[in-house]
């Protein structure tokens, strides 16, 4: 017996490409702009969202039949906020160093529209296992874009990857900088992320014409 049925597998795989939360559903753009100036922050954010979306989708899915529809958005918000605060508090007590790195992301995770979007669009109408897979799939799809954007912005903007200089030293002009190459300061400010995301959307749609809306 396969671990995942075909339908289950598509819940994970679809958001990676043809139903990507950032490039197709256009969710989570704000955090994709805010924290992708370097690769490390992108990776941390991707992992955090993976956890919160996976667990949050399961919780919402379990509660889906008893949540009053009038206040469902508030309920969803409380579930995310509670989850994030619990994790933050536990990390502060038992893994203080890690919590220092993550604390900046707490606010960004709670307000991330991918999380609310998947609760609303999927977890409220599906069982816990499917919701879990959907959460993981969408978080991975989100994470991939974040990491791609972070990779290019850090490489072109600072000439480093994960903090390691890969293009030489811009101040003492070694490596690539000896040829007159300069870091592009524009890449580290948020508008550059929009352009990188735009290019990804462009490439994706030119590869798969079915994604282009006709109007």
């Amino acid at each position: 017996m396969a671990l995942l049925t075909k339908k289950d597998a598509s819940l994970i795989l679809d958001p990676l490409a043809d139903n990507n939360p950032i490039t197709i559903q256009v969710l989570g753009i704000c955090s994709a702009l805010a924290i992708t100036a370097e690769l490390k922050a992108s990776i941390v954010m991707a992992i955090s969202v993976l956890f919160v979306l996976g667990v949050g989708n399961v919780v919402i899915s379990l509660l889906r039949n008893i949540i009053p529809s009038k206040i469902r958005i508030i309920v969803q918000l409380i579930v995310v906020a509670t989850l994030v605060i619990i994790v933050d508090q536990i990390l502060k007590a038992y893994a203080y160093e890690l919590s220092k790195t993550l604390s900046v992301f707490v606010g960004l995770i709670i307000t991330n529209c991918i999380i609310m979007g998947r609760f609303e669009a999927f977890a409220l109408g599906n069982g816990p296992w499917k919701s879990f897979l959907d959460g993981i799939g969408n978080a991975l799809g989100y994470g991939i874009i974040l990491i791609i954007v972070g990779f290019f912005r850090e490489l072109l903007g600072s000439g480093t990857l994960l903090g390691f200089p890969v293009l030489g030293n811009p101040i003492s002009k070694t490596g690539l900088y000896a040829t007159g190459y300069e870091n592009n300061g524009f890449m580290i400010i948020p508008p550059a992320a929009l352009i990188v995301v735009g290019i990804i959307i462009w490439i994706q749609r030119s590869k798969n014409k079915a994604l282009i809306e006709d109007n």
């Binding site: 922050a41 949540i67 203080y96």
Partner: protein
Amino acid sequence: MAINTEKNSYTVIFATLMVVVVGTVLAFLASSLSDKIKENERLEKQQNILYAMGINQNKGEGNVSFIPTDQVAGEFSKYIKEQLVIEGDKITKDDQAYLIDLKKQATAAKNGETRKLPLFIGDKDGSQYYIIPMRGKGLWDAIWGFVALDDKMVVQGVYFDHAAETPGLGANIKQRYFMDDFSGESILAGTKYAGIAVAKGNNDPLNKIKDDNEVDALAGATITGNGVSAMISESVNMYSDYLETIRVK
């Protein structure tokens, strides 16, 4: 029997129950973990103070590396010789001075009370370090740190931290390549306590000029950088009377 989740009475009961449950869970968690969290914060303060005066495990030009938490209490009492509290003209010794909450003191000062200013005197290999805690505003939230001065008011080391600056941009004030630039700069311009400005385009990316009261800024983090400049200048000015007594001694 299915529950009618559309009824108003159900909505109110659900909301009430949820608030009670979530509130209880969070309150229980917060109170059971608060001792541990406070202890972590206390050790972190000691690590930060020692870091500023150069007691750390930095290697080469890499990452910030503190004294490990299990050794920090011992090192702290070994290197920090005196902790003072400056309250107007009154200077008292208090070995818990590093726990003074600067935010509360700033609020107290606004309400017309005299601000308690903690200051730590460290001793490493016979040289004295005067370490001043600082607190200010970044782009999104608070920034804070420590600056260690020698008796000529030359910076021997700094440590910065922040609550919520942008990762990759303003958050880099706690990176060594930014903090290390401050060492060797004087906070004095002539005899005025000018602090050190985080300057854009000062044509000194390697920070070789040490008498300009300026360090090279972080690209894309103008407001955080301005916050750091303001924080340093405000803090050293609050301590200037005391620092002047050390300098002219």
